[in-house]
Every structure is written in C-alpha cells, then in structure tokens.
C-alpha cells in the first residue's frame, strides 16, 4: 500500500484547479496586501563534491564576485546543480562561506559540530557523555518562529514545522530554547506524513460530520492546561518552569486547534496510515519526500507555516549507483584528501549523484511552489528554499560550505552565483593547522541575511564574534548580512 498523493493533494485543497487558492488560513480575514516571507530549509548530509558542484567558471577562487545564472545553458550547469537549471533565474548559489563556528569548536565529531552550528551560528556545547555535542543556542528556524509570532498573533505553533525523511540516523539540526536556566533542547521532527497531515488538518475531510470528540479537543486541552497550573507539592523553581513550559505548549496547541476550527484551508479526505514495511525503501524515500512537499505547499499556501525544515536522512546508496555503506564507502572517500584512495573516483561519482538527487527533490518542491500565484508573483518568489549540509565535503571539512537558495526573489537577489573570499583568519584549535591559515567568510552573515529577508530586524544570529586561532588577531565580527544578497 502506498500513500495516495492524489488524495493528499485533494486534502490540502491543491488538486487540479485549486492552484489559485489565496491564503485562507485566517479564515474570514482579508488576505495580506503582500504575501508573507517564507522559508524552507532542506538539510542534507556530507557536503558536496566541490568539483562537480561549484561553477566558478575560471573566476578567482579567493575573491568576492557574482554573475547571472540566467544565460547559462543546461549543459553549463554543474552536474550537482543541473536539476535546478530550470529554476536558474530564481536560484542563488553561494560559494566560499565557512562554518567558522564549527571550525572553532574543539569538541565532537565534525558531523555533530556541523549539525549544532549550521543553523545556530554558535559553537556547540560539550556533553559529558560521548563525542556528540549539543547546540548552545536555538536554531534560526525556531528563532524566526518566535519573532514572527510576536509580529503576527494569528500565527500558531505551526509557524514552524519540522519534517524529516529519517532512516535510522542520529543527526539533528533543530534546537529550541529550553526552560530558563536549562539547556537548549534538541527538537524532534515528524517522520510520518500521515501524522503531519493529521496535525495540519485535524477536523476530518468534510465528507462526514466532524467527530465531536475531535471538536472538543480545544476545550479538553484548556482543562489539561489548568491541571498543570494546579500542581502542588515539592517543586524546585526549575521543575516548576518545566511544568509551565509543558502547560504553555498545551495552550499553544489549544490555540492552534481553535484557529484550525475556523479555517477554510481544509478539504481533507482521510489518509491510510503509512507503514515503513509496506513499500521498498527507495520508493518509500521518494514518496515520503513528495508527501512532505505536498504538505509544505499546503502549509505555506495557507500561511499556516512560515518556516519549514526538512531533514533528509541518508539516501540508500542503491538509489544513486553504489553498493555498501554510503557514509564510509562513498561520502568520506569522495573528499579531496582521498585522491590516492582507490575508492575516490567511484565515490565522487556516487556522491555527485547524491547531491543531484537531493537537488532534484528540491526542484520538485520549487515546481510546486512556483505553480501557486500570489499577489506579487508566485509562492516560490516569496519562499526561500535553502539547501544546506553539516559538512562542506567528505573530509569532515567546514570550509567552502555549499549553500543554495531556490526562490525568494521578492526577498533576496536571486538568479546569481555568489562567491566569497577566503580571507578570514582560521578559528580552528587544531595544532596541525597554522594560525596564519585562512577560511571563508563565516556563515553567520548568511544566517543574518536569511533572518532579515524574513523580516527579523537583527544583525546577529548566534554568536556575535569568535576568536581566531592567531592570538594577536582581533575577534572576528560575525554580525551583519551579506549585502550582495539583500534587495
């Protein structure tokens, strides 16, 4: 049994003929004069093979420049980026940045450092146990969710949604604020499209009368929240804050359900529950992704969500022309330090296919969003689909971090390839690397750029500065956007 995409599209009001749906999430309220800014973060793993990803076209590596992508032929696009060629006028490729905060993190393996740093802009927190670090600050998507809800009281806790195609992996890149005095929380994501669908459309498909038990849920949650208020007993301040946090989340859900009860953005037939063992892996991965894209489009169209994160688990290697273990047989041997490794040539080919496969998934989402007209263009013009990874390439590196933004032409300057100079003093603590070494421009500036494009007036995301390895050098300023990208 497979998930019925057609039915899902119908459920989201996005079947044939429904592409002109305006933002309906606020029910009878008039739509906004201009479409809101949205962002979809697509998180992959292992970085890229630079020689089959980058398109510097003979221009200097160590310089700041940009050029228009529009004139390029499909064959002139790199193999990794070629699936995005049809969106080239809405594409921004950002080359030459570094995850300076991950490079400067002394703890954890490189994957963990990337997960903890890439969306937080901060050095991770060490844990007592093992080598996996925890982030020290909330991630950009969660910060934006908080800011946007403060700006717009009609937005609910679904202002951010966290999806994942997650195949028995341990990575996590989304972090939220903990209770005061506590640590940042690693936030889980939904792996089941059906569960996401139920959360987005809890009131049935309209073909049968609403279930009175479902209708009662806001009131039930209000009662539950009051039970958290009534708790007495031996509670420390932190324990009480923990219960208050839970209570607030219950109230948030109550508020959302009341909003959903009044929305017209629903025509949901029910869906079969998805089971992992019902279809072969490759098909499941693809169907899972497409189902989440359908839900993403619905959530953005209705202004139900402003930021969605999609964490891709590792592709099965047999989906991209290999056999064995993707991580160790292909991802790492594809790195430039492995040029003498007999696995290197095939590894580069497979990992190029890997990035291209993800790019093709993302291109499908861009197609969907570009099909939805909005007041000032299409949904894609108001949505930045940001592709990123925890590594730069297979050698556990964080310099020359690959970044792509598809869409968001009303928010940033798209249709261009941007390159940044490698002139930042290294932040590494490694004894093997000279203090005179240079890395790319810190990616914090990219995070600030995205934040500002989303309407958050800030000059800092994560750390405001970081120490370089060179003792005599001044702190590295991590504030401010990438001005070239901002409109």
């Amino acid at each position: 049994m497979t998930l019925s995409r057609r039915r899902l599209l119908q459920a989201a009001g996005l079947g044939a003929g429904s592409a002109l749906l305006p933002s309906l999430w606020r029910g009878a309220k008039a739509g906004p004069p201009t479409a809101p800014a949205r962002m979809v973060i697509c998180y992959t793993q292992h970085g890229v093979v630079h020689e089959s990803w980058g398109m510097r076209r003979g221009m200097p590596d160590n310089a700041r420049w940009d050029y228009a992508l529009g004139p390029l032929l499909e064959t002139e696009f790199s193999r990794c980026l070629r699936p995005l060629w049809r969106h080239r006028n809405k594409l921004a490729v950002v080359d030459g940045l570094s995850l300076a905060t991950a490079i400067g993190d002394p703890y954890g393996d490189a994957h963990a450092k990337g997960w903890c740093s890439s969306l937080t802009g901060a050095i991770a927190r060490e844990t007592i146990y093992g080598v996996k670090s925890n982030a020290a600050k909330p991630s950009l998507d969660q910060l934006l969710g908080k800011v946007l809800r403060a700006q717009n009281p009609f937005l609910t806790d679904l202002v951010t949604q966290e999806f994942g195609v997650y195949e028995n992996n341990f990575h996590a890149a989304i972090y939220g604020e903990g209770v005061p005095g506590g640590n940042v929380r690693r936030l889980p994501h939904l792996e089941q499209p059906k569960a996401a669908f139920d959360r987005m459309f809890p009131n049935g498909d309209g073909t049968v009368p609403p279930d009175p038990v479902r209708v009662a849920q806001p009131d039930v949650l209000a009662e539950v929240a009051s039970m958290y208020d009534a708790v007495r007993g031996r509670l420390s301040t932190q324990d009480r804050q923990k219960l208050e946090q839970h209570r607030d989340l219950v109230r948030d859900m109550e508020s959302r359900l009341r909003t959903q009860a009044n929305t017209t953005c629903v025509a949901p037939p029910d869906l079969e529950n998805w089971r992992y063992d019902q279809v072969p892996h490759a098909q499941r991965y693809t169907d899972h992704t497409r189902s989440f894209w359908d839900l993403t489009r619905a959530a953005l169209t209705c202004d139900m969500s402003r930021v969605i994160t999609m964490q891709f688990g590792p592709l099965r290697v047999d989906m991209i022309g290999g056999t064995g273990d993707l991580h160790h047989d292909y991802a790492h041997p594809s790195g430039p330090n492995h040029v003498n490794d007999p696995k290197h040539p095939l590894a580069k080919t497979v990992m190029t296919n890997y990035t291209a496969k993800y790019a093709s998934f993302v291109a499908e989402l861009a197609d969907q969003l570009d099909d939805v007209p909005e007041a000032n263009g299409t949904l894609l013009d108001n949505t930045m689909i940001v592709m990123m990874s925890e590594l730069a390439h297979g050698d556990h590196a964080h310099d020359r971090w690959p970044l792509m933004i598809i869409g968001g032409g009303n928010l940033i300057r798209t249709g261009r390839y941007y390159n940044y100079e490698k002139e930042t003093p290294t932040t590494t603590l490694s004894t093997n690397i000279s203090a005179e070494a240079k890395i790319g421009l810190p990616h914090n500036h990219l995070l600030v750029t995205l934040a500002q494009a989303m309407g958050w007036n800030t000059d800092t995301v994560g750390a405001a500065s970081i120490r370089p390895k060179k003792a005599s050098a001044p702190d590295i300023d991590l504030r401010g956007p990438l001005p070239e990208l901002l409109l």
Binding site: G130, V131, R186, L187, P212, V224, D252, G324, D395
Partner: protein, 520 residues
C-alpha cells in the same frame, strides 16, 4: 595477568585527558535527603504504563519522538523537556487510547451510566494513573469535565474525554512527588520509585495497597515487596531497560555490513535476540554476577547465528557451551555492533570497554583529525591492526589511542561479524593488548582482568545509579554509591542484587538520609 594499576594511573601514564567516576568516598557525610526532582516518564515507561493501565485493550503503536540521551540513558531529567511535537503526540495517543476505552467503558469502570459512575471512573482510573489516590481537588476538576460531556455527548463521550484529560495530565505524565510534612517521600512516592526502577512501569495494586497501609517504610517490609517484584516477569523488563542502554545495544540497529558477506536483516534481528537471551537467562534469571556477564561460556545460538560460532545450525534457539568464547564481549552481537561494514573496529571495541566498564571518558578527538574508517592500502597486505596502528600513530592521536587501541586489539581474533579468525588479509592475527602496565595475550586475559576489577564494579554501580536517578547526581551521591558498591561486593557481584540494593536504599527512596547505623 591481573594488574594492580588503577584506571586513574593508567590515564595519567598515557597523558590522555579524560575523567573517571569515583563516587566511593567513604568519609563524606551523607547530608539531607536529596531534593526530589520531577521526572517525565521515559517513552518506554509511558508505553509500559498505558499497557498496564489498560491491560485488556489492544493498544495501537504510539508514536513518540525519541528523547536525547546525553548520559547514555534516555531518561535524563535535564533533557526531558516537553516539545510541541511531544505534546501533540501525547494528545494523539490519548485520543487513540480513549477511543478504545469509549468503545467498552467496562474496561476501566464497572458501572455504565450517570455522574456517579463518572466519579467512580475518576477515582479508579485516575488513582491508578496518578499512582496514588486522587485528591478531592483533582476529583472535582475531572468530575466537572465528565459531567459537561455527559450532558452534551452522553456517557461514552464523557468517559472518553475524561480519560484523555487523565492521560495528558501532569500527574500521569510526570512523576510528581508530593512528599510528606517531614519532607521525606510519601509511601506512594516510594511505590512509584520502586516500580519504575524495577519494572519500568506503574506500581501494581499490591504495591499501591502496601503504600496505603504504610508498609513501605521499614527495611523488612521493603524487602518483602522488592523480592516479590524481582520475581515478577516485569523485573526483566526493568533490567533490560537499563541493560540495553548501558550496553549500547541499539548500535546494532545502525550498523551496515556487506550482504555478500552474509549480512541480512534477519541476521541483525537474530544477533539482537542472541544478546537478549544471554542477558535475560544467564545474567538475570540465574542471578548472574559481573563475572558471569564477562566470563560465562554459556550462550544462545539460533539458526541464523550458529555459523558465526562455527557450530551446526539448530532448528530453534538453543543454549550451548562455547568452547573458546566467554561472556557478552565475545559474542557476535557485541562484536558486530562495534564493527564497520568491512572491518572490525578496535577503536569502537576499546572505547566500549573504557566507557561502559571502566567509566573512562576520553572526551572528543582533537579538532581537525580525519576520522575516516581506514581501509587497506593497495599493494601491501596489512592487517586491520596494522592499519589502525598506522592511522592513529601520530603523537596527538596516541595520547588517547595508546589506551584505546590495546584494549580493542584484544578482540582482533573476531572479524566485523564476530566470526573467529586467525588470519587477517593473509597475515596472522595479533590479539595481544594491555591496559596500563598489564599485558594481555588476548581477549580472555582482558576479560579476566575486567572481571576481577574493582573499577568495573564501581563503574557498573555508577551506571545503574545514573539510570535509576535519571541524572549524574545519582552516581555522584557518595552515600548511596558506597553502600550499593559494598552490597555488590558482598553479593559476589550479583547484578540482580545491585537492583535490589538500590531499590532498598532509604536515601534512594527518599525515606531517610542514610542507612540505619551508617555514617550520617
């Protein structure tokens, strides 16, 4: 082969940075009873609890996003904060369960109609769910919910909604300890601490009844209940909940091997079952000791795993005496789980011994090092050991790998599936190793060293106390740790005695600052 070198001196000898747990200071005063912390049910505890709360219902699979486990256990108090998704999932679970209850309310309450029946539901189901009698204030709140939906939707709906409220309440999802006027734990708190430690689920009626009669206060009374609980099948669940996390058994779920070498999902499942049977039967049911865990040559083989031991395949799981292997660490589950797709990992195997048996944390690898899994260089035959010696040979690596590798190398007689081998890549296997100044000729020497080690017993005690308390505070409580360690020694290293010792400790239960007659 038993060395006198302590773990601490072994570390300082090598110059590696790290830490070891040593809570065994016998001179420190115990101080007052530690402040009780609220604890959200772990996902295992939650699933077990709803199973036992509704024993006649066929519950659906309940989706709960995993909690993080920074201390190695997924019941970490600090990490277990609510998230929007978890609140959503609790709501979905409550709806799914209550839907079944509403279909047949007699599963939770004997009466079938009216507001008075609602009160009976609240007092019976609520009492069991809250693990203590429902207070009058709580009953009034729940009764108002019941009566509202009784009026608007009828009896079944009132039962359904009230059940949902109970299942999402803080009294159910969290272990909230009310305490007593003297700040000691209430008898119901004691019952809850016992049941979640020993069974990983809610107290049964006998335990609640004992609490109501104040029969969980003295050592003699507690012994009766703890012995009863350890004899119950749920005690194995409690033991396995600790063990699977202590021994990192989920690692097996994530490893990849080459199918062409004989790997399959059936093999993966069989290896997991092999380990479960060994721990359940040899270590738990037969009262096994730390030495049994490390040195027993009894094992269980099945049709899919016999070949790993060079034995003929039985038609079903069978207990065997392995001629050349001893203990958990020489069984295929451990060896395969700590191996890479094509080669065994002396680093993972050595780190496992350090982290989980000696409680040595070495911290993280230095920044910038390449941690790619090594493979053979073309042209020149090399053993796996030689490759690892080569790639970890730099001075910066040797600070820790001089400790890790000699432990892990002792397992080089086993390939990445756990199959015995004497030749590796056409070259003879070298399984010699050591720890500190103690040399090992192979894995048997290592295991005998560990079985005789005081540090290992301290480490396992600390791990169990961390699990029992959901926090490092448990392992660091010198007062409890010293007593439990002593009990473990006195029992000859029995792991079930370790469970009992923690469960009986008045400080763990919140009954008194220390054992009677012990150092205050």
């Amino acid at each position: 082969m038993r060395g006198l070198l302590t773990v601490a001196s072994a570390l300082s000898f090598a110059g590696c940075w790290g830490s070891i747990g040593d809570p065994g200071n016998k001179e420190s005063p115990c101080g007052p009873i530690p402040e009780a912390r609220i604890r959200r049910l772990s996902h295992t505890e939650y699933r077990n609890t709803v199973r036992d709360l509704f024993p006649t219902l066929a519950l659906p699979e309940l989706q709960l996003a995993p909690d993080s486990a920074p201390l190695g256990f997924d019941n970490d108090i600090e990490s277990m904060q609510a998230s929007p998704l978890l609140v959503q999932q609790y709501n979905a679970a409550a709806i799914a369960i209550s839907d079944l209850v509403a279909a047949d309310p007699t599963t939770v309450v004997a009466c079938t109609e009216g507001s008075a029946c609602g009160r009976e539901l609240i007092l019976t189901l609520g009492g069991r769910a809250f693990r203590r009698p429902v207070t009058e204030t709580e009953a009034t709140t729940l009764q108002a919910i019941f009566d509202r939906y009784l009026a608007s939707g009828g009896f079944a709906m009132a039962v359904e909604i009230t059940t949902q409220a109970i299942l999402q309440s803080p009294q159910f999802l969290y272990r909230l300890e009310a305490g007593t006027e003297t700040e000691a734990s209430s008898q119901y708190d004691v019952a809850t601490r016992l049941s979640y430690l020993l069974w990983a689920t809610m107290p049964d009626q006998a335990l609640i009844d004992a609490a109501s009669r104040n029969e969980l206060a003295t050592e003699a009374d507690l012994a009766v209940h703890v012995d009863r609980m350890l004899a119950d099948p749920r005690a194995l669940e409690g033991f396995m909940e600790f063990t699977r996390q202590w021994l990192e058994m989920s690692r097996l779920d994530r490893v990849t091997k080459q199918d062409s070498d004989g790997w399959s999902e059936d093999v993966r499942a069989a290896l997991a079952e092999e380990a479960r049977l060994f721990l359940a039967e040899i270590v738990f049911r037969r009262g096994g000791t730390v030495a049994d865990f490390l040195l027993s040559n009894q094992a269980f083989i099945g049709p899919k795993t016999a070949a790993f031991y060079g034995l003929p395949a039985p038609t079903e799981w069978s207990e065997v005496t392995l001629p050349d292997r001893r203990g958990f660490l020489m069984q295929a589950q451990f060896l395969a789980a700590n191996g890479h797709p094509q080669n065994p990992s002396p680093v993972l195997r050595g780190l496992f011994v350090l982290r989980n048996l000696l409680c040595v944390e070495l911290g993280s690898p230095p920044a910038g090092v390449d941690m790619t899994i090594p493979g053979p260089l073309p042209g020149v035959p090399q053993t796996n050991r030689q490759i690892y010696e080569q790639v970890t040979g730099a001075e910066v690596c040797q600070k820790c790998h001089s400790i890790i590798n000699p432990l892990g190398f002792t397992f080089e007689q086993f390939d990445t599936f756990g199959r015995f081998r004497t030749v590796d890549n056409t070259l003879p296997v070298d399984a010699s190793g050591g720890f500190g100044s103690t040399a090992f000729g192979g894995p048997h020497d290592l295991l005998e060293y560990l079985a005789a080690s005081t540090e290992v017993r301290k480490c396992i005690t600390g791990k169990y106390l961390t699990f029992a308390n959901g926090s490092h505070d448990g392992a660091n409580d010198r007062c409890v740790a010293r007593d439990v360690q002593q009990d473990l020694v006195d029992s000859g290293g029995s792991l079930t005695q370790l469970m009992k010792s923690i469960a009986m400790h008045p400080r763990y239960l919140g009954l008194a600052p220390h054992k009677e007659g012990q150092h205050p």
